[in-house]
């Protein structure tokens, strides 16, 4: 029988961000978003920059993540995120200045390494702002 709840745990290198029984979660897989419901098959995925959306009892909560890994097992879901913030905790001003910084770097565009880093920084900043404004 398939249980109607599944345990979700979200960790970052410096703390445990989330640990609850949930109805479902949508995660930003490296190749696109995927949803996990109770009874999912064992699954490991690389996560990209994006939104983690948790559904519990008709209520949904959003987190901004900059990527990591997720492991889905019948016993629960473990998300290992590089960083993960609840929408309400996002520092919008910091994200904005990060966006500006990334944009100016992209305009200057010198070495390929810098350009790549600036693109990633830009994507992170935009993602944070998007989730904060949800």
């Amino acid at each position: 029988m398939i249980p109607d709840k599944i345990k979700l745990e979200i960790y970052t290198p410096d703390r445990k961000v989330f640990s609850e029984e949930i109805d479902s979660v949508r995660l930003p897989g490296a190749d696109g978003y995927f949803g996990v419901f109770p009874g999912h098959t064992p699954y490991i995925s690389v996560l990209g920059i994006g939104e983690i959306k948790v559904e519990t009892a008709g209520e949904s909560r959003s987190f901004a993540t900059t990527g990591g890994l997720a492991e889905v097992l019948p016993s629960g879901i473990a998300v290992l995120a590089e960083s993960c913030e609840v929408a309400s905790d996002i520092d919008v001003e910091r994200a904005q200045s990060a966006e500006e910084r990334a944009r100016t770097r992209l305009q200057e565009g010198r070495k390929t390494w810098d350009v790549q880093r600036a693109h990633v920084a830009l994507a992170k900043a935009i993602n944070r702002m998007k989730i904060a404004s949800l």
């Binding site: 745990e9 960790y11 970052t12 290198p13 410096d14 703390r15 445990k16 897989g29 490296a30 190749d31 995927f34 098959t41 064992p42 699954y43 490991i44 995925s45 690389v46 990591g68 890994l69 492991e71 097992l73 019948p74 016993s75 473990a78 290992l80």
Partner: protein
């Protein structure tokens, strides 16, 4: 014999030392609490990461990732973690002595050494050891990016085959009062066999591929392991300092007690001498 004034001066000097050691004990206790919290909250991430790697490694070929590849350990790298500051008992001596034994067990040129923490850098430089990397005065503002930096350097030296095996030598935090010197292998990464409790031997679905998962997980695991060792050492250091400062304060207390006793005895003796002089003088006058 020391005069009364000398003893009094010593008492007040010991007292002010006691105040300092006592204050340092309090500071260490506060820092220990914070360091311990950080350590405890970092452990679950590291554990889950190890679990994932053990699950993937159990099913897939280990040659999938270069950091899993075991080579003949001809050249061994050591990362020694000490504190930046002293006054923490045998904390640094324990770890540097152990590291020295490990390094000296290899033939010259086979072991390379890097050090995190000023005390260890001083120790090894004084003894003429060559340090390939030194990280100094970072514990005060310890952040994950420091671990990233260390891990990046270790990883590149491993991949360029400058070293075939890497160990971290550090103090592990057991409790506020006790530390344990550990020599942990960080590279090549040896995935633990999966524990039965969570492990499902069925096929996993990998997204996008087992290769990509390992590419993400393994460098991350190295960083996390370094980070955890730094946090362990940090918490252990404050614990050791707290204990050292506590016993210093206790010793000062005992010293003050003894000095006060000597002072009182000397004072008593002086009074007795004075009285007998007066009595003697009066006696002489009467005669």
């Amino acid at each position: 014999m020391a005069t009364l004034r000398d003893i009094k001066r010593r008492i007040s000097s010991v007292k002010s030392t006691q105040q300092i050691t006592n204050a340092m004990k309090m500071v260490a206790a506060a820092k220990l609490r914070r360091a311990q919290e950080r350590l405890l909250s970092a452990r679950p991430y590291a554990e889950s990461l190890r679990t994932i790697i053990s699950h993937v490694a159990a099913q897939e070929d280990q040659s999938l990732h270069p950091l899993l590849a075991v080579r003949d350990p001809k050249r061994v790298g050591y990362l020694v973690i000490t504190s930046d500051r002293g006054l923490c008992g045998s904390f640094n001596a324990n770890v540097t002595r152990r590291a020295q034994v490990e390094i000296d067990s290899h033939q010259a040129g086979e072991a390379t050494l890097s050090n995190f923490g000023r005390k260890g850098v001083e120790f090894f430089t004084r003894r003429g050891y060559e340090l390939s990397e030194r990280y100094v005065n970072l514990f005060n503002e310890l952040e994950f990016r420091h671990a990233q930096e260390v891990a990046a350097s270790i990883q590149s030296r491993y991949l360029s085959e400058e070293v075939d095996r890497v160990y971290v030598v550090y103090n592990r935090f057991k409790s506020a009062g006790s530390q344990e010197v550990r020599v942990d292998q960080v590279l090549p990464i040896e995935p633990a066999p999966p524990t039965a409790e969570k492990y499902i031997p069925a096929e996993y679905f990998y997204e996008p591929s087992a290769q990509r998962i390992l590419d993400e997980a393994i460098p991350r695991n190295l960083r996390t392991q370094i980070w955890l060792s730094l946090l362990e050492s940090n918490a252990a250091e404050h614990g050791a300092r707290m204990v050292a400062m506590d016993s210093a304060t206790e010793n000062a207390k005992e010293m003050i007690y003894n000095l006060t006793l000597t002072y009182n005895k000397a004072r008593q003796a002086a009074i007795t001498t004075e009285i007998s002089e007066i009595v003697g003088g009066a006696e002489a006058l009467r005669g």
